[in-house]
């Protein structure tokens, strides 16, 4: 993915991001969702609706989303829905915090062994830290997740 005009693009647009951006996973409505929230970056035009189906104990049984946005926002939402399935709300929120650190700094020094596998799945998005104006694209899905878990209806990462 090297190009004379654009240089090396792998730092931001890794194959997994392009793949998830073009074909987002869990891209559907959940008709039996127990929690939903909308995420909106009004300045950019990224917008999404997140659906969570939670068990009586609060655990996330299913996660899905719909929306429009850039490849980074779509890939991040897609990867997030894959990652949070089976997590408790507290685990999902902690993962969101770790992800925001990863997106802003490119590394996650506090990421312990117990979440290493999940963070590895999200790692392709770490390249956004070199593009400050794009960090909010990557974090929108996680802000929306927090809003859904907190019972808020709307989130924005701007």
């Amino acid at each position: 993915m090297s190009n004379d005009l654009f240089g090396d693009l792998r730092d931001l647009y890794q194959d997994v991001i392009l793949d998830h951006g073009r074909k987002p996973r869990n891209f559907r409505r959940l008709d039996d969702a127990t929690l939903t929230a909308r995420g909106d970056n009004p300045m950019c035009g990224d917008r999404m609706e997140l659906f969570l189906k939670t068990a009586p104990d609060g655990a996330i049984q299913d996660a899905a989303f719909q929306g429009r946005g850039c490849a980074i926002a779509m890939a991040s939402a897609s990867l997030m829905t894959e990652t949070v399935k089976g997590k408790t709300p507290a685990q999902a929120k902690e993962m969101g915090e770790k992800f925001r650190a990863l997106a802003m700094t490119g590394t996650c020094p506090d990421c312990g062994a117990e979440i290493a596998d999940d963070m590895e799945r999200l790692a392709p998005l770490s390249g956004v830290h070199e593009f400050p104006s794009r960090v909010k694209c990557a974090t929108l899905a996680w802000h929306t997740l927090n809003a859904a878990l907190d019972g808020a209806k709307e989130a924005s990462s701007e």
Partner: protein, 414 residues
Amino acid sequence: MDTHVAAVPLDLAAIRADFPILSERIRGKPFTFLDSGASAQKPRQVIGAMVRMMETAYANVHRGAYRMSEQATEAYEAARGAVARFLNAGDEREIVFTKSSTEAINLVAHSYGRGVMKPGQAVVISEMEHHANLVPWQMLRDAHGIELRVCRVTDAGELDLDDLAAKLRDGRVGLVAITHMSNVLGTVTPAERIASMAHEAGAKVLFDGSQAAVHRHVDVQALDADFYCFTGHKLYGPTGIGVLYAKAELLNAMPPFLGGGDMISEVTFERSVWAPIPAKFEAGTPPIVEAIGLHAAIDYVTAIGMNAIEVHERALVDRAMAKLPRIEGLTLLGRAQDRGGVFAFALDTAHAHDVATLLDRAGIAVRSGRHCAEPLHARFNVESTCRASFGLYTTPEEVDLLAEALTQAREFFR
């Protein structure tokens, strides 16, 4: 406008050498700046004039009885004179300095809207307004019982003059506030026609010239504009200074916008007497150094010649119109007959932000998003666009590079 002067090509190399920032490199690549519509770069002449003023001639204005303050006041007022000549205003007192076009429009919405217009009257704007020429009128509507009417834009991105006539028909419109050039579609609106239609219907007219005044010679008397505003930083001048032109009779009839020092002629604890125009509308210490910078910017573009700038930019527009629409999968917003160097577009395979990030890798700076015109994007049913906008320093080769980079960007995201 003097159209008889033969078009002398601009000495682009010399012009570009006046702008130090254009020799910067982005990741080792030449800096291709195609975001002048958001804010233009500054020539040495402007930078130098501001530095010189601060180093040798700075003091507050209209206050000191000492030589330095008198000099600063003369320089500040000379800037007003330069703006008056630039717009061909009949009287220097018709030029009010603000901090931006946005503030100029807010001034009119407040002082003319609330001070002169009556509840039940209407303001007409258009679908292609920048938020700066939309939100102040929504605020006026909600605070003062003014109806807000939005004139349609055709699919080609031109003002629908039949709809404007319909919106004016009942005679209740007090003000028509329309852009002179769209910051998204590039459309230059028929300002003279709009002004005469407004006046026939008994309405005043305001033009948001933030984009237009940079690209063409503006003559407020020929347009018969009641209000005209533009901003310094898009005209190769500094941020923090904008201009409101208004006919003297209107300024005289309007109450002040902001209260404070410099806008009064007499103050007691009981009451104040407003200063004559334009001081009545310039409360507080004004943007002094910025006014000197704007004066230098006006001298700079005037020396090159607004007609020469227009001819140069028209060639760039023709080149872009020959190249951009041919790019497969590219949708260009607006195909107005009369247009300037602003192009908003979307690619079918990629979101505007992804395109902008890729272009940035090639050293090309464009804006992405909705460009402070969210309702217009909704009108054209696009989520967001990239926008390339040209300045007097833009080269044909930069237009070619943009087209090439877009072609490759589309491939990359396929």
